[in-house]
Subunit: 160 residues, 6 copies
């Protein structure tokens, strides 16, 4: 069984992330999404909220697992016998950062491969920080995130 690992912060999960998960499922039997609890920037959603929004968005799919993980990805990959780390590439700036991370992970454990997938081009413009910004100003994000995330963003904006 081929297992892929899709790590991230997911603050919050977007349709672009979901698009990558679906593509990974074409090639792998199982995808494990790991959510980083600690992030260098203060996240909008708590770790529990972020995990729960992902589970909501994917609840129909028993080939996907969602878990917390903070630590070295290569440790997780080894322990869970992961075939590859999966990452989405949208733009040149993605490419350089992802390349560096992938090379470093390979250095730490040669057996851990990284594969890059390309989201639908309509998600080229999409990232979680732009979504948070639009929602903050009451913009309509229904095309970019699953319904539960949209509601969660609205709740946050009204509180904030």
């Amino acid at each position: 069984m081929k297992v892929a690992l899709y790590p991230g912060t997911f603050d919050p999960i977007t349709n672009g992330h979901l698009d990558i998960v679906e593509r990974a499922l074409k090639m792998f039997d199982r995808v494990i999404i790991t959510v980083a609890r600690n992030t260098s920037k203060a996240p909008l959603f708590t770790a529990d909220e972020r995990l729960s929004l992902i589970r909501d968005a994917l609840n129909h799919n028993d080939r996907v697992e969602v878990e917390f993980f903070d630590g070295l990805l290569v440790d997780f990959a080894r322990k869970r016998n992961v075939s590859a780390i999966v990452r989405g590439l949208r733009a040149v700036s993605d490419f350089e950062y992802e390349f560096q991370m992938a090379l470093m992970n390979r250095k730490l454990d040669e057996a851990v491969e990284t594969v890059f997938l390309m989201p639908n081009e309509k998600y080229t413009y999409l990232n979680s920080s732009i979504i948070r910004e639009i929602a903050r100003f009451g913009g309509d994000v229904s095309d970019f995130v699953p319904p539960a995330v949209q509601e969660a963003l609205t709740r946050k904006s009204n509180k904030g």
Copy 2:
């Protein structure tokens, strides 16, 4: 009448920004500069100071308006019947970020076009954060910013 919108933080305005405004005025009848009051990083100048430094630098030109705006640019663009959002492009890294913002704005309102202008190549090296850094160490910024900005930077540095 063709109106262009030139949004930014302008912390502070530089000769590179002014160069873009002048180029926009060749193509548009009117340019509205909007100053974002809130920025993700703590600005050196208050919103009032930033707006007032722009007005000083442009006071000879009644085809330019300067205003505060925090919110979705597409809302502003629609309300004020703006023909295009204007942005300066200096380098590849600019390009990717600007591209993402422009695609997102188009997604939010298809009628809002973004046009990119190229500043004079002598401003390729120029951005507000480098200017603040140089001024902090007492470097001469008179070639890069209008005189009023230079004085304001000197006052800040002496206080700081």
Copy 3:
């Protein structure tokens, strides 16, 4: 009256080019498309064919002119009192080449401005050489080019 100049080889014109023309017409009163007769690589279509395919694709629009031009763009721009040269930007590689051309044109005539527009993101993958390649192998290009171009490509492929 604001006139834009949109120069190119157009071998052949694609929906991506047409998208740029439409965006330019939002900002300018008139667009002149100039077709370079001579190109560094042997074109698939003759200059007459390329011009005639553009005219076909745009025949409904009397705000667009199509002409041959070989020479310095700045000479044409001056003679025809053009407000700006218009170019589409899709990717980083576009950006660098276009930047160089625009800076050079500005050096040759400071009055000639270049503005960059962003095509619909669904045309990010599109360029004339990929279109020719797909048509050569009998692929379906009907989503990417106007109908007359599609027919012309089919005729060429059958002959070739």
Copy 4:
């Protein structure tokens, strides 16, 4: 069974290509290498030579097939029930071209996925055209290509 398609010109195959094949074999059960007979530039090696050098380099591996193919990759992918097209990414310039091709292939057939793999960083500097250049001047390419390719390059250089 998961099958990957690895298309190219391979003029000639290098250790960088072989590195990608090995990585693909970790994730896929089978890799089909297709060699483009016709290339836009005159190749150094004939199509038969290129194919035969690949077979030599891989003869120990019965999970890899090598074939000629000229045409639309998506047609081949469909016919052979391929799970993904595999491409190596070394640098930003690779990225943009590969992205365009992958988006176009997806447009032609949504079922055809492209995955990008990263070669060992010691192959970042490596491409077939540099190899041909070095061999032409009698440089030592033994670190960059399999032994049979090295001999073939020496024979070509002595003839040329």
Copy 5:
């Protein structure tokens, strides 16, 4: 005597930095490393620790000096009669930032040249922030930093 200036934050110094110093020593008679005491982000190591770790790593070499410096590099360069500022280039994103800094320094003092060197490609993936991240999770960084830095990182991680 040709003197090079190698400025940075060095939080902490890595084998990639040391590689650049060695390359600079092939071309220059002397290299002065300046350590910025103040950084925009909170450093992991104090300024004194960062300086002392560099001295440790280089103590065998009397052609290298290590000093604190906060201020305009061009002032330091002039005062110490430096022939060139030396910077390492690993990737496109490095390039753009470094280019901007170098152009700005040249603007502030035309006599100050910047030269760019390329580290060994095995350090392409390497930067201080990735090193800090790996060490934080107990990963093995012995291939990437000198032994004294490794120990210092372990001490920090255990405390943190």
Copy 6:
């Protein structure tokens, strides 16, 4: 004595190339310019013309030598005891190609270092192929090339 090697096609030499030579002379005692006789594209000027135009442009400087060289640069560098190969960097696209060449040269001979210099930003837009294009259409290139090159371009254009 520190010797730098500055290789190229120089079809023809521009003020941008001369700018790099001058910067190299600040750091090296001597610069050897090597002119590639054979180029992948048909050059506008013969090898003899290209060499002679460089000599003209530099005749006041006895610290610069100009020679033909076709072959592996590392062979030349070793034979002539060169400290470094010098290359100008203007843009991201330059960067990637130059990086590849420099890594390959280092692979072929570890002792051969490449240093990158940045031309004056007013030469960012400048390359020999744009110069040839402008001259072909009778444009004024006097700001971009030395006088002898300008005359030679005019002679070529009138003949062509």
